[in-house]
């Protein structure tokens, strides 16, 4: 497997890595460091990729493993505003106010979830089936369903006073 093949695969699946970085990194610098670390870890493991699972499933595992356990920062300060959690260049883009506001609120709420809950929400928002979630996280599907319902309730509670809350 060549480096070029790897770069092509990463190019196709980069959005997945960026999502993980936005969810687990606190500052722009954090997110860039995490992005680089995920790329390095993926490259190191690439030789062992046998195609037994989809590349995206495999990449989710590496990205989440790196974000949750390998690259965990000691000082985890959960921000009370959405600013730290927002994609860096959001302001530069031409989104309507309502969309931006919704996403801000979503990031604010997600930032208050635990590392595991964040991973579940990300996979859920990425439209992954519970079977795929189990393949990535190693949590059984029934448990994932219970957790997802709890997370939805939690997010409703966290955003119930917001205009675009999930409640």
């Amino acid at each position: 497997m060549s480096q070029q093949e790897f770069l092509d695969l990463i190019k196709t699946h980069q959005p997945l890595i960026h999502k993980v970085c936005h969810l687990y990194g606190q500052t722009p610098m954090d997110k860039q460091d995490l992005f680089q670390e995920i790329i390095i870890q993926t490259w190191k493991a690439y030789g062992s990729f046998r195609g037994e699972s989809k590349f995206s499933t495999w990449l989710y595992r590496i990205a989440l493993n790196t974000a949750i356990s390998t690259y965990r920062k000691n000082k985890r300060i959960i921000s009370t505003t959405a600013i730290d959690g927002l994609p860096v260049d959001l302001a530069e883009q031409d989104y309507d106010f309502a969309k931006e506001e919704k996403l801000k609120q979503l990031y604010t709420a997600i930032a208050k979830l635990t590392e595991v809950e964040r991973a579940i929400v990300m996979l859920y928002l990425d439209d992954k089936s519970y079977e795929e979630m189990e393949e990535v996280l190693g949590i059984n599907q029934n448990n994932l369903r219970v957790k997802m319902n709890r997370i939805k309730d939690k997010l409703r509670q966290l955003t119930k006073n917001e205009v675009y809350g999930t409640g």
Binding site: Q3, F6, L7, K11, Q14, P15, L16, H18, K19, C21, H22, P28, K31, L34, F35, Q36, E37, I39, I40, W43, A45, S48, W58, R61, I62, L64, N65, T66, I68, S69, T70, Y71, R72, N74, P87, V88, D89, L90, Q93, K99, K102, L103, L106, T114, V116, A119, Y124, L125, D126, D127, E135, V136, L137, G138, I139, N143, V146, K152, Y164, T166
Partner: protein
């Protein structure tokens, strides 16, 4: 608004690049060193090994050739110490290499990390505590060989005045005293180094297992 309704916005905006990354920039990243704690520990371990070799090997060589080889026993003792450190580094490196399975399911990777970290901590505690009596005995042997005058001193060797039992007992008490003290110092230090990290990993695992 339900979470499901946010999927579209999430896919649209959530994947905004954290920085602009073209193929060349990503190719550059592949040559950089990992900054993960495990990678850092491995790099530190390599430096520790180089330092130990640079410190002890010249001394061993010196005693092999100086004084017409009269003190070659000391050279062998330094070589023994080097072998001890080599075994220590080998085992620690092995544990660090086993600690991570980046492509495994998140839960299995966490279980692996906790298990290996606990093994490493246990190894540190045993090696760190054992090192104290071993180094003291080693130092004792060096002094005994380098300073023949002390061979007649009852502090170092049983003599006609002091029985083997008394000297042995005194040394056992000294060794035990320092070993116990260092056991607790090591325990405190290891907990300071890894305690919080292990506790955090365990709490994530617990959360994953809980229904």
């Amino acid at each position: 608004m339900e979470l499901d309704n946010l999927k579209e916005i999430w896919n649209e905006v959530g994947s905004n690049p954290v920085q602009s990354n073209n193929n060349e920039q990503i190719a550059e990243m592949l040559n950089k060193s990992s900054q993960s704690p495990i990678a850092k520990m491995k790099r530190n371990l390599r430096w520790e090994l180089i330092t130990v070799i640079l410190l002890f090997a010249p001394i061993a060589i010196f005693y092999f050739f100086a004084f017409e080889g009269k003190f070659s026993v000391i050279a062998w003792m330094y070589i023994g110490l080097l072998i001890f450190f080599a075994a220590y580094f080998y085992y620690k490196n092995k544990l660090l290499s086993e600690m991570q399975c980046a492509a495994c399911m998140v839960k299995s990777n966490l279980e692996l990390q906790v298990k290996t970290l606990e093994k490493l901590v246990h190894f540190y505690l045993i090696a760190g505590t054992l090192m104290v009596p071993l180094l003291m005995i080693w130092l004792w042997l060096i002094l005994y060989n380098r300073l023949p005058s002390v061979q007649n001193s009852f502090h170092f060797w049983p003599s006609s005045e002091v029985s083997f039992l008394k000297t042995g007992l005194a040394w056992t008490v000294i060794l035990l005293f320092f070993s116990i003290i260092f056991y607790y110092i090591n325990k405190w230090y290891i907990h300071k180094l890894y305690g919080r990290h292990i506790a955090k990993l365990k709490s994530i695992l617990n959360e994953m297992e809980q229904e």
